[in-house]
């Protein structure tokens, strides 16, 4: 089981990450994935993402390890970008490798839900008119994460 966590300013390649993940062997039947992008609207121009170096990587690693145990993953890659990202740019990539598609896709949802609520990132919005504002945490994200809580929560 290969867990790969990266917090970086650079863009990422799904193809390259998939190729790296597949080195894990031949028992895999598929990769579930989510790629989050900066959603536009209401005059938004860009987001600037800030994080807590050290804690971010350890929290994401723990979430990935929990997903591996819970869904029997053969590999899990989480790449989260920080810095300034304009509308449409990728922010986050989660890849979960499993023998079967249901585990791969459920694990992807699990990792995203916990990433939203337990990984120390913050977003500052930057609008076309030059205004900036910190994004509030969404209560909906806590609800989404709580649905996995039967077996305890990451972190």
């Amino acid at each position: 089981m290969a867990i790969r966590v990266s917090v970086q300013t650079a863009a990422f390649s799904m193809d390259a990450e998939h190729a790296r993940l597949m080195q894990g062997g031949h028992a895999a039947g598929g990769v579930g994935a989510f790629l989050g992008v900066v959603r536009g609207g209401a005059g938004l121009r860009a987001l600037t993402l800030e994080h807590y170096p050290g804690m971010t990587e350890s929290m994401i690693g723990r979430i990935a390890a929990d997903a591996q145990a819970r869904f029997g993953l053969l590999g899990c890659t989480v790449i989260h970008r920080v810095g300034r990202l304009v509308v449409g740019e990728p922010i986050v990539l989660v890849l979960c490798l499993a023998a079967h598609r249901a585990a791969a896709l459920d694990a992807t949802a699990f990792v995203m839900d916990w990433l939203k609520t337990r990984a120390p990132f913050w977003k500052r919005e930057e609008f076309e008119d030059g205004r900036t504002a910190w994004v509030d945490a969404r209560e909906a994200d806590d609800v989404a994460a709580a649905r996995w809580a039967r077996d305890g929560r990451p972190g």
């Binding site: 807590y52 050290g54 994200d141």
Partner: protein, 85 residues
């Protein structure tokens, strides 16, 4: 000494991202640290007094609540609720 880190709007409002301070007399829990910061002037009082409910904390990079302990040498971080992903 403890190291205190501030992130996001806390850092913006307090004008600093970190500081070191001796562990004050009688301070044993996160809640004690928050109260001692709220006793300072200006933005500190506003941030740690009135707005305390909107602030999250980590001790040595683990999420922590007001009842969690703080010891000499710890890294204590204050930040808004997280918004990753």
């Amino acid at each position: 000494m403890i190291t205190i880190l501030y992130f996001a709007w806390l850092r913006d409002r307090l004008g600093r991202s970190s500081e070191s301070m001796p562990l004050p007399e009688g301070v044993r829990f996160v809640g004690d640290v928050i109260r001692s910061l709220a006793e300072r002037d200006g933005e500190y009082r506003a941030v740690f007094g009135l707005q305390g409910g909107a602030i999250r904390c980590a001790v040595n990079q683990e999420f922590a609540g007001p009842d969690d302990g703080v010891r000499d040498g710890d890294e204590v971080a204050f930040f808004p609720p997280v918004t990753g992903g």
